[in-house]
Symmetry: C2
């Protein structure tokens, strides 16, 4: 007997019929003798509906009240799932975040989980019940309802799995696993049966939207084995088959023996680049530029500063395309003159493409294969940034698909047609 | 400075615009220096939507899970109202039943309030905030969410007013007060500016749907002054005018000096009558008949047993028309033979009409005026039941409007046209 946490996304919970399918799948696991905790998202569309109402009333909704409002979506879907299980003869009970309780800090709309009390959950499991825990939400020290931000139900599920020391946390979603890159861009993209935690972390932070990045961090911190798998399969498919489907995020490097040097290609189109030319190369200049940007609540992603030539340097960084105009105005109006930059040049027609792989640690020449591949396709690299297990480049966004496909092929990630 | 509790029904909270109107009205009271607690219902249609989803999944939904689900409607509307107040520059915070907490028993879907902690509410009021408390719900000893049943927000509001010893509890609704009878049946019906608690209790129990009867009981138990008034008026109408509008439910009989002997005519069409003929008149026969009916969870309203003639008696009672078939089957299949009844006769085309008035206590001849009036209209009385301040009759339902109009006129309740 194992203790398993299931998480279902909004699409999987999107209608009465789908909720009944989720219940069938959960009932199958329960009937096989497993203890099951289920973390559902709100029914698809519900969170957007609620936030839409809020914004009609208060364009910048109060955080506390927005969490009070938005948390109702998961409470409703959890109760409906409990009913669906009961209707199928399976003992089940739903719990809100505050009932468990899931304790968080007080950062409304983006709270962080601090602890989860496992007593009540264990008591219910010991009674043979399926326990449903509302995703996305918790309670702060003062008893206020908090939410974890978009995709927060992933984090809830992993945190519940950590608190219960679950054997596995299954994230059911509308894709059937983690791919070497987005199959919509590269049809030859291959589903990985195993991916290392660190690779998954890079993939999530680089724009692969399969899992909320905080849920991956949580999995890493508490070493929770997480499996991403499809909720669109037949709920009555054989359990043995389901248990090995999807992609397992692992912490055991030996499971990755067969791994390629590069595991996947991540990319993000929503990028914009800003460069301050001929900035005097004096101490504190980076802070003088990025301090005001951070103060305006604009996230900066890549930062590149070139070698100083004759006492000046060029300073470049990327921001999300949505923040581009605001960031550019800020720099032109105030910062550029203050730091003595000769000119500000900017481009919001760029994208970021990254290769990710734990094997890069011990293999030389990986980055240079990347650069050579892009060069052979005639793609100019505008910025480069590296970490231990990834290399990212900024290029013109018109070359994005071309670059991703070329790199996917160059690093041998294409699907083995003969095996398909 | 007074402490005032406002309650708004689902229609008043039915759209973003209406919620903003509620906020304007509340803000007006707050600006005048009053401490205000607001108890909103769910947005109109929301509770039905949620219960509809539940019944699709589980035709007889589990009580605990249904309460978990249904309570989200008031949580959402409360948060939206808080936002609307904040958007208008009024400090406000919403609280769920469990956050207050509002403690109830564990009778899911029809829980009873046991106590309300006033500490948190007072602290918020002392900070100058408008406090919004979700109607309809509470928490039991084990931390489960409970709901109070249909119309439960009225009871929530009165209970909160009782806990805070509020100066008045204002029930804003889509009618502008309590009428001598339903104006849709008798256009001459008159709004009462004051009605006694006991009369209101009889009116509510006899089918006047202005207030949930339990809220009236609560008001009586804790002597909470309750005013029923319209939410459809201009929210910015002068406060002095609003404070005396609607109908005040009072406990001070001297305020009713001017009262008529009969204050109002109540009626209910959803009645059905069952009679067991020639039942042996032996001890325990009433229990033998009504015990199985109660066990089947069928509410019995009026009960009449005639004088015994030659050792047998006729035993009649009324049930809600929805329960008629079930009750009749139960009696025909089992009970009638067991108690030795000669025959079971039944009629689901009956209604109940009642005259209510605290003045009946001290005035003789009130019931006989009722009977004479009905006789003059050629209406046959099938059953009669009386209490200290009301007399009810069961008649054929085709005469209902006629009976109500005739009685309304006979007891001098018609609107004074010259004063209109």
């Amino acid at each position: 007997m194992s203790l398993i946490v299931h998480k279902y996304g909004g699409t999987s919970m999107g209608s009465v019929e789908r909720i009944q399918n989720v219940a069938r799948r959960v009932a199958k696991w329960h009937a096989a003798g497993h203890q099951v905790v289920v973390v559902p998202s709100a029914m698809s569309g519900e969170t957007n509906r609620l936030i839409g109402l809020a914004k009609e009333i208060q364009p910048q909704p109060d955080g506390r009240e927005l969490d009070m409002l938005a948390s109702t979506g998961e409470q409703a879907s959890s109760a409906l799932l409990a009913m669906a299980l009961l209707a199928q003869g399976v003992a089940a009970r739903s719990y809100t975040g505050w009932q468990v309780p899931v304790r968080t800090d007080s950062a409304y709309t983006k709270a962080r989980i601090e602890s989860i009390d496992d007593e009540r959950l264990r008591a219910e499991l010991d009674l043979g019940r399926v326990v449903i825990v509302t995703g996305f939400q918790g309670i702060d020290d003062l008893g206020n309802i908090t939410t974890l931000g978009r995709g927060g139900s992933d984090t809830s599920a992993v945190a519940v799995a950590a608190a219960l020391q679950a054997d596995e946390c299954l994230i059911y979603t509308d894709v059937d696993g983690v791919y070497t890159t987005d199959p919509r861009v590269v049809p030859e993209a291959r589903r990985m049966s195993v991916v290392s935690f660190e690779e998954m972390l890079e993939m999530a932070s680089l724009g692969s939207k399969v899992l909320q990045i905080r849920s991956v961090e949580f999995a890493g911190k508490y070493r929770v084995p997480v499996r991403v798998l499809s909720s669109l399969t037949d709920p009555m498919m054989p359990l043995e088959e389901e248990m090995t489907s999807g992609t397992l995020i692992t912490f055991e490097e030996d499971q990755k023996m067969e791994a390629a040097v590069v595991s996947g290609i991540a990319f993000s189109r929503d990028e914009a680049k800003i460069t301050l030319l001929a900035v005097p190369d004096t101490p504190g200049v980076a802070y003088s530029i990025l301090g005001p940007v951070a103060a305006a609540n604009i996230d900066v992603d890549m930062i590149v500063q070139n070698q100083s030539v004759r006492g000046t340097t060029d300073f470049s960084f990327t921001v999300n395309r949505n923040d581009f105009v605001r960031a550019l105005d800020l720099l032109k109006d105030n910062v550029a003159q203050a730091v003595g930059a000769a000119e500000v040049v900017a481009d919001d027609k760029v994208c970021k493409v990254s290769i990710v792989g734990i094997g890069m640690r011990s293999h030389v020449g990986v980055a240079s294969l990347m650069f050579r591949t892009l060069s052979e396709e005639g793609i100019n690299i505008q910025m480069i940034s590296t970490s231990e297990i990834k290399t990212s480049v900024v290029i013109s966004d018109k070359y994005m698909e071309l670059a991703v496909r070329a790199l996917h092929k160059a690093f041998g990630l294409d699907q083995d047609k003969s095996a398909a």
